[in-house]
């Protein structure tokens, strides 16, 4: 009798094992993150949950979110990763709350109300400088340095209407330096349609200065392009978290949740930091031990109310449009 049960159990286990093996699960990730970052997730996932296959669709975060909204009747994606508070805030209806198993490692201050989204990493806004293109200008040390008309046409920033990065940066600046100064800045900047064009523009020397996230600009320093420098403005800068979410009605089911937990794990966040220089949202990773970036404690941070940024989006975009239009003349 006992032998029989053991045998039955063994067969069951075997059967379960083979079905698990045979039914490779697919999780589709909508990501606005660069290829290397997605690869880091895929690699961690391969170790932690080898039966899950990760598909990724990449694009601008706004584009992907609207696509999720359009696909609501025929859900295609499982996870969205990642965008800023103000951007994801408009798409709450497409997501389901989920308390990740890794949530305890993430400071409460960063979390999204009700855990509809979970912060995956933290961005620091920096001034990316191409020293070869400065000419006679001194490298900027503060935001106000950039308001001088001498900088006209030498600064690039992403279009806040099409890029959440651009919105975060310009909203934050607006809060920090005020209306008049933003107006002066608007007269100096060129606007690119995507945030990735900001970094490449500065790196290729199209522009001397770009307003960018640290994680997007740093790869050029890491890659050995000596003329690229990151400036953490002395008058303070601001941070913003990138949020990831579990899509409502995700076809991947439990596999999607597993993949989500993997996205938040220490391994993934460390790998992300190593490969794509994203500061972890977790508090248990020491950044400067892994990459040559300053610890958060060494950076002067100006607090931003993300909720306000999201609520006043339309109003601010209109303001910015008028500044940009005035500056263009």
């Amino acid at each position: 009798m006992k032998i029989h049960t053991t045998l039955a159990a063994a067969i069951l286990a075997l059967a379960a094992g083979t079905t698990a093996f045979a039914q490779e699960k697919t999780v589709t990730l909508y990501s606005s993150n660069p290829e290397q970052a997605i690869e880091a997730v895929a690699n961690t996932l391969k170790e932690k949950a080898p039966d899950i296959r990760l598909n990724s669709i990449t694009g601008g975060s706004g584009v992907l979110l609207r696509r999720l909204e359009a696909e609501a009747s025929n859900v295609q994606g499982d996870l969205f990763w990642s965008s800023s508070f103000n951007t994801v805030g408009a798409f709450e209806g497409q997501f389901q709350a989920y308390e990740s198993l890794e949530l305890s490692a993430i400071p409460e201050k960063l979390r999204y109300p009700g855990n509809l989204y979970t912060p995956a990493n933290v961005h620091v806004v920096v001034i990316m400088v191409n020293t070869d293109q400065l000419g006679d200008l001194p490298a900027p040390r503060t935001w106000t340095d950039l308001l001088d008309p001498k900088w006209k046409g030498k600064i690039v920033v992403a279009d806040p209407a099409n890029s959440s990065t651009g919105y975060t940066i310009l909203w934050g600046l607006h809060k920090m330096i005020g209306d008049e100064e933003l107006k002066k800045l608007a007269a100096n900047v060129a606007v690119s349609s995507s945030s990735s064009a900001v970094q490449s523009g500065v790196a290729m020397g199209e522009y001397a200065v770009g307003l960018a996230f640290e994680a997007n600009a740093y790869p050029y320093v890491d890659g050995g392009q000596e003329e690229i420098e990151l400036v953490y403005p002395e008058d303070g800068t601001f941070i913003t978290a990138d949020f990831a979410g579990l899509v409502k009605g995700a076809p991947g089911g439990d596999a999607a949740k597993t993949a989500f937990d993997v996205l938040m794990s220490k391994e993934t966040q460390t790998a992300l930091l190593e490969t794509s220089f994203r500061r972890p949202s977790r508090s248990d990773i020491e950044v400067s031990k892994i990459v040559k970036l300053p610890e958060m404690s060494a950076i002067k941070v100006f607090d931003i109310d993300e909720k306000e940024a999201a609520d006043k989006r339309d109003e601010f975009l209109k303001t910015w449009q008028s500044y940009a239009a005035a500056g263009a003349n």
Binding site: A70, G77, S196, E206, D222, Q225
Partner: protein, 546 residues
């Protein structure tokens, strides 16, 4: 008028089946675009009129297309004239021209031009050092330059064909009647080849209007129809496709007008040239030969620069976005073939399936249209040429809008990828199959039938083998253009279904030039190897049907 005997033969039923397929996959998506533009809470047209950006985009597209068409004619026609009429040093490399346009993905062309003429480009820096400030490359300057060098070959090919077909004895006759050589050329040759030049110029016009890749990269701050259409498409998705449909309709109407104009010009230009003796190219030497040779070679070499850049980039060490020029590696290629081969596999499968289905469909339907006319076949002819009027973006929108959900949900499947390529490139196969069928006399088929071979068997045993060479060349054209297709597939692809071109586009978006170059180089190989095999091994004249 349908007779009882028609009902017994397989042709009417096959025609109806083909008609259903064309209605579902071409007419229905186009109809959806047209109706979607006037549906929804707010009519797309009133929104368009209220939005200065949209109107500017349309105007800009028209201006850009006109300017690029002119520049292409200015480069393409003289180049065609000197290559058709003279022999000079370096002429052989000009024979490469048609290949270049086919094999270099536009994304890569645009990126390469940025390296030369961008704010920090090699040429820009050189000129700045000697005190000349070029305008910014993002905008008119860049768009016109890159598109000119990508599209002038179409004018070149069309004009070369017309000049070589031109009966040079006409020109001699004019000279014998007392006009000077230059005058006789203007008086006699120009009117004869003008329709060909205009037709190819209009082709360039429509391609500029529909251009996606170059516009996306270079039209950052300049609203352009194709870019705003794409942006509207990705932001609206398939659920409430109002603005994208409105823009798409504008583009369809614009291209349709051009095509009608083209047809009108071609029909007016039907001068019967009694199979003329084309002039033999005369050698041109001395300083004039050197100037012509240098100028022509310059144009061709400039067109080849992107190819060289990606060939080098594919084997260059990179760290993140930074290229370490001069350090070589195989890691990028390893990635393409070993770490992430999915795009390569996808490209091969989708383009292969689209080519196979497209060619079979074209052969059969062209046969019906030319040889088995019935009440249905004229419609097959009209509908199958509709994709000519659709830019990739428009087609992509149509497919997404039509098959997102509902009775035939295809979103996220491989089918919709194949469908996008298939429909977009269908006219290639149709045009070439119809041209060949016109040249197969009816008596051949009747001979086979009279010998006791039933009609369908006759089609497979006699007609199809005779169409063989033309089908092969159409298949290669369909293949190469399917592999390099981007604008339609980028709208319909889903995770895991990216093709080589989509991958290149994405990687360039992420500033990973080394990987982009590696995928780009493999893409070019996938395009060019069948062409080489076909022309060298099977002696197929790939460009005969162009």
């Amino acid at each position: 008028m349908i007779r009882a005997s028609d009902l017994r033969a397989p042709w009417l039923w096959l025609s109806l089946a083909a008609l259903v397929a064309l209605l579902v996959f071409i007419v229905y998506p186009v109809a959806n675009i047209l109706t979607a533009s006037v549906s929804g809470d707010q009519n797309g047209w009133s929104r368009l009129l209220a939005d200065p950006r949209g109107l500017t985009a349309i105007l800009n597209a028209l201006i850009l297309a006109s300017v690029v068409t002119c520049t292409c004619v200015l480069i393409g026609v003289p180049l065609a004239y000197v290559t058709a009429r003279y022999r000079f040093f370096g002429k052989s490399i000009i024979a490469l021209l048609p290949l270049i346009t086919l094999v270099i993905p536009e994304v890569i062309s645009a990126q390469t031009w940025l390296m030369a003429l961008g704010n920090n480009g090699l040429i820009t820096r050189f000129l700045r050092d000697i005190g000349i400030q070029l305008p910014t490359f993002y905008g008119w300057f860049g768009l016109v330059t890159v598109m000119t060098f990508v599209y002038y070959t179409y004018v070149y090919i069309g004009t070369v064909a017309a000049i070589s077909g031109f009966d040079s004895t006409l020109e001699e006759a004019a000279q014998s009647l007392g006009t000077s050589p230059a005058r006789s050329r203007m008086k006699v040759m120009l009117p004869v080849i003008l329709p060909s030049i205009l037709a190819s110029a209009l082709l360039v016009f429509t391609m500029v209007v529909g251009n996606f890749a170059i516009s996306m990269i270079l039209a950052n701050r300049l609203p352009l129809l194709s870019v705003v259409t794409y942006q509207a498409a990705v932001s609206e998705g398939g659920a409430a496709p109002v603005m994208q449909s409105t823009f798409a309709t504008v583009s369809v109407v614009m291209v349709m007008l051009i095509l009608f104009l083209n047809r009108w010009i071609v029909s007016r230009g039907r001068f019967e040239i009694a199979q003329g003796r084309g002039a033999r190219p005369v050698p041109i030497t001395g300083w004039r030969g050197a100037v012509i040779g240098l100028a022509a070679s310059f144009i061709v070499i400039v067109s080849l620069v992107p190819l060289a850049v990606i060939a080098v980039g594919a084997f260059t060490v990179s760290r993140g976005p930074v290229m370490q020029w001069g350090n070589w590696t195989l890691a990028n290629m390893e990635r393409v073939f070993i770490n992430a081969p999915q795009p390569l596999v996808n490209s091969l499968i989708y383009a292969g399936a689209a080519t196979l289905i497209g060619i079979c469909f074209s052969a059969l339907v062209s046969y019906l249209i030319i040889k088995k006319r019935n009440a249905v076949t004229p419609w097959l002819d009209y509908i199958s040429s509709i994709p000519l009027a659709l830019s990739g973006t428009v087609l992509g929108i149509g497919l997404v809008v039509s098959f997102n959900s509902g009775w035939l949900p295809l979103t996220g499947t491989a089918t919709i990828m194949v469908l996008a390529l298939l429909v977009r490139r269908l006219p290639f196969g149709m045009r070439s199959a119809q041209a060949t069928l016109h040249n197969i006399p009816n008596s051949i088929e009747e001979a086979s039938i009279s010998l006791g071979s039933p009609p369908l068997r006759t089609f497979f045993k006699v007609v199809l083998p005779m169409m063989g060479p033309a089908i092969a060349s159409a298949a290669i054209l369909t293949w190469t253009t399917s592999v390099s297709e981007l604008s339609a597939s980028i709208l319909v692809y889903s995770g895991g279904r990216e093709t080589l071109t989509i991958q290149v586009f994405r990687l360039i978006g992420s500033n990973l030039m080394a990987y982009a170059s590696a995928y780009g180089l493999v893409l070019i190989a996938v395009i060019i190897i069948p062409i080489i095999v076909a022309t060298k091994v099977f002696k197929i004249d790939v460009f005969a049907s162009k």
